[in-house]
Structures are given as C-alpha cells and as structure tokens.
Symmetry: C2
Subunit: 340 residues, 2 copies
DNA sequence: TTGTAAGCGTTATCAC
DNA sequence: GTGATAACGCTTACAA
C-alpha cells in the first residue's frame, strides 16, 4: 500500500486539491502551506500514481519506440539516442520489437495507444504501417529509418546517396561489375538504396542491369541466398554492395563458402557500421549511418509535437510534417579494396 | 474518444457490470444477454482501457525487462526469448536499458513498480540491485544472467564451468600462460568466471597467479585497457580468456595494434557467441550461452509467480526461490588454436 | 442472474 | 487561495 495523495493531504492538514496543486506547481498556493505539503510528501515518501494520473489526464510520460529488429546494432544505437533524450525530458521509453512482423507491430501500436503513451517512434514495417488510429487519438508519431507517409514527421538518412557513394567507391577501386543486394521491395529504404546503386552505375557509363540487383529480406539468411543467386548467374558480379549489416553477414558466409577471397576476388561494401566490422577478414568497408543521432533527433521532434499537442487542443495534423535527412559517411576498410 | 464500457452497455441495453462480466468471462450470465453484449462490443470496436483496469485491479499485463546493456547481443537474444514467451501468454514487455548504471536501473525499477507491472525480469547491476520495494509491493522478480540474492528466482549459466572449459581448452592447445580478463569485482559473474579460470589452472598443476587476472568493466574500452596492462606486465600471458563479447573486441584491438597475430603469438577465447565471431580474423573461439533459452525460461518462472501471486493472496516470499542453471558450450574456431 | 454503487488515485471545475 | 466534489473507465461487493 503505497502512500497516496490523501495521506499527504491528511498529514499536511490540507485538501487533496491543494496537494495536487503544490506538487504540480499549478496555480498559486500559500507558501507556508506549500512548504507543509512538500514536507509531508517527503516524509511519507509520496511518489504519485502514474496510472491514476494517466486515467485522469488521458496521457502518460511514456514514449513507445517500436523497432523492426532488436538484433540489429543500428536499432540498438537508435534506441540509445532515443532513451537519452527522453530521459532528459522526463519521459520513459517503452521499447517494442516488431521483428519485421506486421502483426506484432500493429499489436504494439494498439498497446501504445491504449496505454495512452505520449508519443510513438516507429521504424515502419516493410509492408507499411497503419498509424491512423494513433492520429485519431491525437498521439504524435515520428517515423524512423523509413518514411511512412507525407503527414508523418520522419528522420532518416539519405539512403540513395549512401548507396551511390558505396557503388562509386567500388568502381573507383577497379571493380568492373558491382552487384547490389537490397532489402524487400516494399521497404522504401530498399528501393532507395537500389536506386542509388543504379545512379552510380549510370553515371559511370555502365548500364545498370536489373540482373545485378537482388531484393532480399534484410536478414542474414536472405542475404546469403541472394549472394548465392547472383554468384550463380551467367555473368556474376565481381563486387557487392549489401544494404544492411545483417545481410552482409550472409554475403560473407556465402563468399567464404565458395573459397573466394574478399578484397581479392570479390569486393564488398556493407551498410551500417558495427563494432565488429574492423575485425572481419578483411576489415569491412561500410556506409555508416548516424544511428544515435537519428534516435535523438527523432525524439526531439516527437517531444515538440507532444508539447504542442497538449498546449494546443487543435488537431496537430494541420501542421506540416517535417522530414530530417541526415548524412551517411563512407568508412573505407579492406573489403572494398582490390588487391591482385 | 474511444468506446467505453458504458457505450457497450447502452447499446446492448444492459448494465456496465454485465458487460464487464461477459468480457472477462467471470460469473455466469444469460447466454442471450452475453451474445448481445459481444455483438455490441464488436460493433463498437470496444477495446477496453488498460489504464482504468490497472487502476482498479492494481495490476497490468505488462512485464518489465531491465537489462544492463542493450548493445550486447547476449541481452538482445535474451529479450527475444522473453518476448516470445510473454507474448504467447498475453503479456507485453516493457524493455528498459539500464546501461550498467545503477541510477538508471533504480529509476526503471521505480517506474515498473509504480506502473503496476505484473512482474520484473532483471539483469542486476554489478553493484547489486535493491528490489525490496518490488517485493513489498508483491511484484515477482526473476534475476537473469547474474544472481541477486537468495530470496529471488534466478536463471543463468554455470559461469565458472564455462570459464573452466575455456581455460582447459587453451591449455590443451598448448598455450603456456593463459591470462583472464573478467568483469567488475562486484559482478558475481565476473568472480565466477575468474574462479573457473583459476580452477582450470590449479587442476593442470599451475599456480593461478592473480597477476594473470584483470578485473575490467565488461566494456570494449575496459577490455582493451586490461589487455594492454597484462601484455605490458613483466611476465605477460600468451593467451587470453575474456569474459564477455564486448571486452573481447577491446582485446582484439589491443593485440592487433601491437602487431601480434591471434592464433599464432596469442590465443584467445571469448564468452558469448555473436553473429560476427566466425568472421573475425581468425574466427573467434567462444563459450556460448543459451541466451534465448535464458530469457524464455526466466519468463516462464516469472509468469508462474505472477499467477500464484494473484490466486494466492499470501506473500510469495514464503515460497522457496528457485535457481535454474543452464549449460554453456565451447565453440572452437581459429583464435584459440596454436599455429606456429 | 442482474443492477446499483463504491471505490482505485488523480486532476480539474466549481463554489466559497 | 482553498476545499468539496465530479469525473477518468473499470471491477466487484452487495442487493435485489
């Protein structure tokens, strides 16, 4: 039986209304009384009941972060950024892993809404996510990593630029026929990365044949299968740009299993830096995303909306949605170099 | 304005009490009425308000999982196991990252309690965690990865056995002077792993000098510093057993920076398998923990407590705490082999 | 079997 | 400036 506001009121010999006012710093109360209240609250170790408060105010100090793959270091870095900013602003983060499963995702979206979270950060499922219920409930949403729709704030990197610079780098190193393994067709990041790949090829005067591109599932196994397919094609690529850090593991597996040597017979560039990238043999060249910053920035945007939503009772959808595009960077290591 | 129980009652032309009874399947109600209620609920898309329910029942269908490092693949695998079991049982998981910071941890512990979660899964902070408030509130706790205290259910692996087999393996491979880099003194896993290391040495007839053991912080940088120290000592080790997957990255960094070759000049065994362990140069030998199973099993234990706590009103601390010890396995790859 | 009503712990709207 | 009190949406005695 935790201390309630009643206990505090009784001890301070004031009404519960006054206690609430003092503790929330709303309206003005007699300084002496305020002191009594604060003393009583402290003495009793009063903490307040967030559930009751939520029921009454119809909101909480919880943020939901729904990510599509908790095993992906990119998302854990995002989560850190989110958490740091949220924490500082007095919010806590409910972290949900949808595992790229749209059923799980919509379940979590439901829970978030019904639990009256203050806002939702979402890395949308490849299939596209339905956030209309959230919008109807006036709960702000910010999309992370992938775009959602025009009415939703988003934070992500310029995927096609990243892909382009990866591919250009491969060509500069003397690889003749780069291939591309990207994510599922439904994911806009996958399309953008494929597009950047094509652009680089076109710009270099090569025709970007679709036979050099494979759409996989952003998973290790999918990456491996796609690599095998490409390698088995009549005119196999001599280098790969692989669009995330899970699939690149699969690519490495497959290449190794065929006895080919990365950095000699095959060039390789991944997407997303990881702690282990420097230690694989040879060290992995990657396109790095500022994952922490993505999380932090998205949370800042979300909290802006949250605050506006509470002040202004009007529907926030009237505001224009903002999109923040962060830059990737190329980190050159051994896997993309061409040693003969 | 979501549908409330009142709306359903009005539409079905019954009292709210009846609606509640039908939807919760408690007590018996007239079948015809029940049908009407269900129809109304469906028509209105009634979902129920978990916050109101929690306030009334003083519990929720949320589980809190507080882990000490979200960047560590071991914990993300644990999280997957937790989530799968929880999901199946109709619970959702609030995932919190304490980042090995006891302030953050106790903050999350507080939030969990005050949010009336049904139970808490905790990978205790190295410094030891205070869960007495949770126990007072009758919220079951299960410790993961590290032991907490005798009154708390726990699930973890036999750390000293794992460390012993790692060290024995190193000796069998012909390394003469294995060193050990373990976690912080306050973490019982760190002590246990150091103990296993010592035992293996003793058993082989060597005296396990403390100068071969370093306590670090389970982080990359700490692992690197400890490796450097050991390597700089008057009689440096020729092999390392490193007690987690973060620190082993630091160890590899340091060894490389000195131009030493793992698997030739230096042997190496890590703790925890990771997706990239097969690809570092040379592939990393590790002690593998069944992380997913740890999460799943811990959640099963927790849910047992949760159900008992709700049925039985007596204090659950009277039951004996259970400890489940899972087994590690040695995965031999190149880093522990001794090629001359 | 069903309905009425009392809470759960807050906040917010009133009168005073 | 302060205190009753209604309301948030639900569950659960207790009556009927």
């Amino acid at each position: 039986m935790p201390t309630t506001i009643k206990d505090v009121a009784a001890r301070a010999d004031v009404s519960v209304a006054t206690v609430s006012r003092v503790l929330n710093g709303v309206a003005s109360v007699d300084p002496a009384m305020a002191r009594r209240v604060r003393a009583a609250a402290k003495a009793l170790g009063y903490e307040g009941n967030p559930v009751a408060r939520s029921l009454r105010t119809q909101k909480s100090d919880l943020l939901a972060l729904i990510i599509s793959d908790i095993g992906n270091p990119f998302f854990t870095a995002v989560a850190r950024g989110v958490e740091d900013v949220a924490q500082t602003a007095g919010y806590s983060v409910l972290l949900c892993n949808s595992d790229e499963d749209s059923q799980k995702e919509s379940r979590y979206l439901d829970i978030a809404r019904r639990s009256m979270v203050a806002g939702v950060l979402l890395s949308p499922n490849a299939g596209g996510s339905d956030v209309t219920a959230l919008q109807r409930a006036n709960i702000p949403v910010v999309a992370i990593d992938r775009a959602l729709d025009e009415s939703i704030d988003s934070v992500f990197v310029d995927s096609s630029e990243g892909a382009r610079s990866a591919t250009e780098h491969l060509l500069e190193q003397g690889w003749r026929r780069p291939g591309c393994i990207t994510g599922p067709r439904e994911a806009d990041t996958a399309e953008r990365r494929a597009r950047g790949f094509r652009e680089a090829l076109t710009q270099s005067g090569t025709h970007p044949s679709d036979s050099l591109i494979r759409y996989a599932d952003y998973r290790v196994a999918g990456g491996r299968a796609a690599t095998a397919e490409l390698l088995d094609s009549p005119t196999p690529p001599d280098a790969f740009f692989v669009a995330n850090s899970e699939m690149v593991i699969g690519a490495i597996e497959e290449i190794r299993s065929r006895g080919m040597r990365i950095g000699h017979d095959i060039g390789l560039v991944g997407f997303d830096d990881t702690p282990w990238a420097p230690f694989v043999d040879p060290p992995l060249t990657v396109i790095d995303q500022p994952a922490y910053d993505i999380g932090a920035e998205a949370t800042r945007m979300l909290l802006q909306r949250v605050n506006r939503a509470s002040t202004d009772s009007s529907n926030q959808t009237s505001d224009l949605a903002r999109t923040v595009l962060l830059r990737t960077s190329l980190i050159v290591r051994g896997s993309s170099l061409r040693r003969l």
